[in-house]
Symmetry: D2
């Protein structure tokens, strides 16, 4: 019933696209952690629209304000609540969304669930704009993690229609430097050549009044061995449950992911060895850093599939909920032809919150 | 920290492969629901090993005993606890697992996490045997759902190396009858021809002392519109978090799943129309029955990827945790060359528990 | 680890006495409920300081702002977040509180727990000011309850040193009108004569630079039979766990409460009879409306004991946490000589939130 | 909706008076903790009926069996589930309880809530017998605490009608030895002289076919400073919410408790000083060891009020739920004339579970 997530670190996200503000309340943060403001803003900027021509030209003013929980930039141990005021909404009539629900959106399901009382303006509580407070919370969590040597980065692995995919993590040496670089880019890719191909595909979709989906791949480097629990509180369960909180995600896979379904045990089992520093490592990482729900010290790797933006300006088939008859719909307004690049910082943020929660849950922080 | 799952319906799974018993405690079941014992046993039998030559020849005595919560076969509204005694364990020395962890298993992560105090016999709390109480709980939940017109079925969509895949749900007419048939088979497939090809691949893996992975696809038919919530308590989040509770799952996808990453909005959006009974339906079901985390009345469809059984009898590379040196390992004993057919009832069970929880969470039951 | 409460309706309280704002996020409210703003403000005003000469002369600007969750004054089903900006803090140096902790306050425990990073200004997250967002949330919840015929009222049953106590609920006919009257007063009493005596005692304490404790008694009228669950999710457990969230509460009792320890079964059992409308009632209400954790349809009655305000201007014995030596402390500033009258609306609010949560948990709303 | 309790350590209690078994599943216990079986049995014996002539002469076979979670008597880190088979139920017809509900019992509320499907035999899930698994879980938790220097003991402070009360903790030197002594007695008192007076009162009640209530007082010695959190996850909230899980509890108070309502700040504030070992202590302990929800290193003290056993053999006034008419009821069978002595080990157990949970929640264990 809630828009809250977490066992030991808990985030509660509130607001809608056109409410006075959106925000997040974070509970369980350890006291004494400095939160660098510039880094927060940098992550917020990566998510905000209007920064890259692949994205919508809407400008969202994503200036967060901390209401409580920080004193002189340092966590106090009390809940940290931050809000972002909504300032740039174009005033228009959204009432049509209750009558002619948009395919691929939550208009119809929300109408039935909330009996017509839901806030439909700009998508309401279902809006992708709600990833802004998620990114805020994640940016704070990631600073706490980085102080413990844990670094997170994500990249756009593929975009529909692009001839070239980005290089996947499993064929890359994953260094903290690589992840930091990715985590600073607006359209993060390991291999910059792939970016152009993806951009072309996005631009082509935009010109044809359409949109494209894609995949974000994320790595968490530096997780100690032992975070997570068997069965229901494992790293996969916890990460999946937060990642599906990002709108448009339709799938998640860890390590080799769905490819395990095509492999044999002798290929998929990761051979173990002793690394030069005496630690236990595996030669491959098909497990994605997780065995039995518990981190094994290898990079934690997962991928999330994002559907193409459902708001397209092509004419679509819908229904009139009043007359119960067929209807046509053309969506106007500014929309991302592809949310995937902007989704990368949201994926990193969610990964950071999950990693912090897993560590606290496992009494490792 | 817990092996419990659920907001409104809560299941807690306990036990290990060689403890006196394993079991499940189910909280939140409505009172007055008759639980048909034969159906419970039928589902338990589908999961139990030794029924099909694709599976291990171990016999597990999966006779559940209800300790409380049923009176004359009807739920009382109090917690329902059922246990299964462990009777058929071969007595042997498992201490090697603490020294030479098996690749692909949780031996190493558990050793670090529990400091050597974990129960390693037969996999302990990480054993696939823990799906037995899950199947019990799911079989009970599904009877409650079926009384409300909600039916669940899963099939083996693919097995590594098989030339033929099974027909996917999206190209099938999903009827309650189909799902009931699948839910009664030991190796459930929509197209029986595919089964032989898969069996061959499994047998071939067994003969080469190896194992194969695969995919289970599941459908929930009859979910009313409105179950689930936006952001973190949506149908995808909740189902993913329980499905990753089944050992060996490395990925989950809903509706079109990862294929959305290759599609355009105009292809992926499901056109809406009014069905002959006046209900709102969509012509395609790329959404997998979920929009904005909320069920839309279409069949809820998802797929889970299972890795090949990590226990293979080929020699493998591991490490000696005492000497911190490289070591070789040959695993003996009886093991499934492919868990996927036996996983299907566990997936159905988890889906049933999740569906019941979503309905109660949404005050629809 | 959290400042959140609730299973089905969840409130998260954030902020501190001197942070930019304090507030509350409410999750799980049903959609379509009108929230009357005047009633919210009326309850906020009852809690605010400076309205009655028995209380501190500090003025707190308790103007709530709704950030989200209401549309045209009606709940949307999405989280409702409201904040109150902190505007009237006197700027002063609070660093002494980390060195010379005030007896009866959380200064010392917070210093140890948060390692000196806690926000000590005005009590920080421990401040009684945090009851303002609680009152906001309760005022909203109570409007939803009242629409279902459930009314809540509390009164000051006693104040230390007062010659006269107020008339207790068990010797009063509890009508909705009585509860509404109580819930509109700044110093709510059933018998106005008792108020004068209590005020005298409070004034006397103030003049002697001291403070006094007291008891608030609360009634919830109109709860249907069947809310709450046995053992740990019963009405008593749930109400107690929220009531101890109000600072200064040191005890809670239901129905006859601690007096049951002096009684026999034949006295304490409430004889049952059929009321004229056909409902089952009891002649006495020693159970306080709860049997086996479940509401029985009789008025739900409980009492909470409040300790005297620990901030007194008499000299007190403390310790110097730096030198680890004995020290003397004189607290200056404006403080309530008695928080009990202002606590009454907070108790009503907490009761309202708990009642709403119990009803939703029991699928009765 | 659940019979589960806990954030970081979670116990789930299941079963009813006449089900095949009752039991408890404990999640979150640290691995590597030896559980001494004799101590478990000793605590179970203290709770069991038939040991003391003040109690019922029913014999309950309280032999717990551990199904999982222990290996060679040491916790594995996996859930620990223990059951107690029900063996000594007298077979009789309980159906009358659905028609003629017993005053002071949950018969009527359960009938309405569960629509007649509840298990009424021997009280079902509402039975005081459910404190047996609570005592089991508490006895395990307390061994883990004792290894960290934390000791718990409770005594019967008063029994209705007794001329003499026991000496309260606040006027006693609370040593680990005292608490260990109390925790080994069937009718634990600080001052043995008081026991005789209480026994007389209980015997007198029994002879007059009646019952008496009383108060149990409990101390937790050795809690470090810093366990618990402000507002809703404080030590008082958490302890209260578990203590009301013991049937018949109608009130709880901490430290000075309801007496704070009669006191002034200058009396109630506990003066602080530096103890000879350099620790911070208070001269009095009106706070009961808790300030702002957080333990302050002083003994944590609370009292719980128990109502007189509602099952008395005097004739009582009830209603016939079929005919909706007045009816008379005489309860037969063996019943405790006073549950208070047997409740003491249950209170200790609940305190132990809560203390362990608070420590883990606060990352102190």
């Amino acid at each position: 019933m809630s828009s809250s997530w977490g066992n030991s670190i808990r985030i509660s996200i509130f607001g809608g696209s056109h409410t006075q503000a959106i925000g997040v309340n974070i509970e369980g943060l350890p006291a004494g952690e400095r939160i660098e403001w510039e880094e927060i803003l940098e992550q917020m900027a990566r998510r905000a629209p209007g920064r890259d021509k692949t994205a919508t030209t809407r400008k969202e003013s994503d200036q967060p304000q901390v209401l409580c929980g920080l004193l002189d930039g340092v966590t106090t141990g009390a809940p940290l609540c931050a809000i972002i005021e909504n300032t740039n909404q174009r005033s228009k009539d959204y009432s049509q969304l209750k009558v002619l629900p948009r395919p691929g959106h939550a208009d119809y399901t929300a109408e039935v669930k909330y009996g017509g009382y839901q806030d439909v303006r700009g998508g309401g509580h279902f809006s992708g704009r709600l990833t802004a407070p998620l990114v805020f919370a994640g940016a704070a969590a990631r600073q706490i993690l980085r102080r413990r040597g844990i670094v997170i980065g994500a990249h756009v692995l593929k975009v529909a229609g692009a001839k070239t995919e980005d290089r996947p993590f499993h064929s890359t040496e994953i260094s903290p430097e690589l992840l930091k670089r990715l985590s600073g880019e607006y359209f993060p890719v390991i291999d910059p050549a792939a970016r152009e191909s993806m951009r072309e595909s996005i631009e082509e979709a935009r010109l044809s009044r359409d949109s494209v989906g894609g995949v974000v791949e994320c790595a968490i480097l530096g997780m100690p061995v032992g975070a997570g629990d068997p069965i229901f509180d494992g790293a996969e369960n916890r990460i999946a449950s937060i990642i599906f909180g990002i709108p448009a995600v339709k799938g998640i896979e860890f390590g080799a992911g769905f490819a395990v379904a095509d492999s044999r045990g002798s290929e998929n089992n990761d051979p173990m060895y002793i690394y030069e520093d005496g630690s236990v490592r595996t030669r491959t990482n098909n497990a994605g850093g997780i065995l039995g729900g518990i981190t094994n010290g290898m990079p934690l790797i997962f991928r999330a599939a994002f559907k193409p933006t459902p708001s397209i300006s092509k004419e679509q088939e819908t229904v009139d909920l009043r007359t119960r008859e067929a209807a046509k719909l053309v969506i106007t307004g500014r929309h991302d032809p592809c949310v995937v690049p902007r989704a990368a910082p949201a994926v990193e943020a969610a990964a950071g919150i999950a990693a912090l929660d897993l560590l606290v849950q496992s009494r490792m922080l």
